[in-house]
Amino acid sequence: MPQLFHPSTNTFAKVSIFGAIFLIAAVLWVFLSIERSSYVTQAGVVREQPIPFSHRHHVSQLGIDCRYCHTTVEESNFAGIPPTKTCMACHSQIHATAEMLEPVRESWRTGKSLEWIRVHDLPDFVYFNHSIHVKKGVGCETCHGPVGKMALTWREKSLNMEWCLECHRAPEKFVRPRQFVFSMDWHPEIDQKILGEKIVKEYDINRLTNCSICHR
């Protein structure tokens, strides 16, 4: 009987048995990486808006407070998207004829809202409330990133559940004193660990990890 297989088959068999483990591990790694990549989470991806609104200009260069536009962030679950009226408060005087702002004026004339593209959209099965987070000392930039540096707005974090739990399991690592919640580029003067633990105690912050806290 002639030889069935070429002698190289021996090497091939050994490599395939040995390599199978790495292959399976690699496939798993690729899948888990894709799940966390910005391709899936959209983190760090700039969304195109009807008007190229710059948070950098308004927040850092002009020093407008977050709450000037996002008015309900302290008392509602939704931070609020400003109505055209808020824009026009300034832009009826400043850059009143700028080509770029024509959609705002059109909205003002017709009464039809500007259709902003939502950057942070949580799934409908998640209950989220801005006001409680603000009251417990979670800074805007803790979740939304350095908004004052965003010429065009992107989502800073993945919004994956593991990201939520990171803070819900260890809030002391992230909280700050209430008076700095709306500050940009804030850094603790003492060690965050010590400060965080003090704040957790002072604000009575609980580690809320029960499923039905968010999935009601």
Binding site: L4, L32, E35, M161, E162, L165, E166
Partner: protein, 457 residues
């Protein structure tokens, strides 16, 4: 006693006289390579394959519509899917018992049935594995059962027996597969050398992983096989113990009982041997294997069935006794409801199938009559399914609160998926018979007088 010992000696042997190494290899390999496939194979495969198509169709419809097409509802939230799962997993147990435990106990008679029983185990586990998956509301998220670093930072609930099940059953499937495959390697080598066409040579060549039958190959093979047997032995006990925890960890009357693990394990072996007999009796007839699978094999299996059947009967008795002795009115009601409630006919059918009918196996006349044995095996198969039906349904349908009582019955789709899973099982079985040696060739050779193993013993 002395008389009986003598009798065993004169009893028919494990292999009919006159066989040589060559004749064994010829006979078993001819089933695959040279002999014309018997008509019975085509008929059987045709029926099984059609049933498997019914399964595919039913599951497709299930995935389109959801589990609402089944008879499930509150209070009976566990219906056919769990019944069938436990039934199939139980059937698998005989394979592991025969291949691992009987090997360690040096029971030579396992030789001619172990390969077949191991294959049966694998296919039964495959059929069982479908049910927990399709029982999920969102089957496409089945991988949530496995612990992996997901983006939700969530792990399965390790305190739940359902999660233990995932590990128990997957380990079982994996070890059974390895055990089966390891045992097949030397035989694949024989088939490779005997195959005439190029494709078969290549296929068996790859499967035999370069087996040349050298002394060092045999040495490694024996070590590996023994180690795997050791690994598989605790699984015989653990798998069905954990399956029984699915029930016993709950507080439902009729489930919350410490007798469940041993009672389930015995039931599993009982069902498994019944299934081996159900399959092997027609097989030896169609392929003319009476000289390999002798009356003595059938008798031995009948005895195992009788013994495990008695343990199961003891389990039923203890269930009733514990209910009475506990003084718990819910437990007592549960037993009375089984015996006299709306499902009483099913319960009594179960007692007849699993307790009464197998008592015929006490008599040699029934042990060695192939037809009677086949009939009893079928009855036990049915009985074991009814047992799981009784456990699942009667405990749930009337629990603590009469206001939440209800009735349960399988719908058309419940039955179609059940019968379909039988189709899947038999399809795999027929394919196995066609392309792999159903009886271990090289182990049969050790039964020939004068072979190495004989002298050793």
């Amino acid at each position: 006693m002395a008389e009986e010992k003598d009798k065993t000696k004169t009893e028919s042997p494990f292999i009919e006289p006159g066989h040589t190494y060559g004749s064994i290899t010829d006979k078993i390999s001819s089933m695959i390579l040279t002999r014309k496939t018997p008509l019975g194979w085509f008929i059987g495969f045709g029926i099984a394959f059609s049933l498997m198509m019914v399964l595919l169709f039913s599951i497709t419809y299930l995935f389109m519509k959801g589990t609402g097409i089944w008879g499930l509802n509150i209070p009976v939230g566990w219906g056919f899917a769990i019944i069938n799962f436990v039934w199939w997993i139980g059937i698998g147990h005989a394979g592991t018992l025969i291949s691992a435990i009987l090997l360690l106990f040096r029971q030579e008679w396992r030789t001619s049935i172990n390969r077949f029983a191991e294959a049966m185990t694998l296919f039964a586990v495959a059929a069982a594995g479908i049910f927990p998956l399709i029982h999920m509301g969102r089957p496409w998220l089945f991988y949530w059962l496995m612990p992996y670093p997901n983006t939700m930072n969530l792990w399965p609930q390790f305190r739940s027996p359902l999660v233990w099940d995932v590990f128990a059953v997957s380990t079982y499937a994996l070890v059974s597969l390895l055990f089966w495959y390891t045992g097949l390697v030397p035989d694949f080598g024989s088939l490779r050398d005997r195959a005439k066409n190029k494709f078969a040579q290549k296929a068996y060549g790859i499967l035999s992983m370069g087996w040349r039958g050298s002394a060092i190959h045999w040495h490694r093979y024996e070590t590996a096989y023994l180690l795997l047997a050791g690994l598989a032995t605790p699984l015989v006990i653990s798998v069905h113990t954990i399956v029984s925890f699915d029930f016993a960890m709950a507080i439902i009357p009729g489930w919350h009982a410490t007798i469940f693990p041993p009672y389930f394990v015995a039931g599993a072996v009982y069902a498994g041997f019944a299934m081996v007999l159900t399959l092997i009796i027609p097989l030896r007839k169609v392929y003319g294997l009476q000289d390999f699978i002798t009356i003595r094999h059938l008798r031995n299996m009948a005895k195992v069935m009788l013994a495990t059947g008695l343990i199961v009967a003891y389990g039923y008795m203890m269930e009733a006794f514990t209910a009475w002795y506990s003084g718990s009115e819910y437990e007592q009601f549960m037993i009375l409801n089984r015996m006299r409630g709306p499902y009483a006919p099913v319960f009594w059918a179960l007692i007849i199938c699993n307790v009464v009918v197998p008592q015929f196996l006490w008599f040699e006349r029934f042990q060695s009559k192939v037809g009677a044995l086949f009939a009893i095996a079928i009855v036990v198969n049915i009985g074991m399914w009814l047992e799981r039906f009784i456990i699942v349904v009667t405990s749930l349908h009337r629990d603590f609160l009469p206001s939440s009582w209800g009735m349960y019955a399988g719908t058309f789709w419940d039955w179609s998926i059940y019968f379909g899973s039988i189709g899947l099982f038999f399809t795999l079985m027929f394919i196995f018979l066609r392309i792999m040696p159903a009886i271990s060739i090289f182990e049969m050779r050790t039964l020939v007088k004068g072979s190495k193993k004989k002298i050793e013993n």
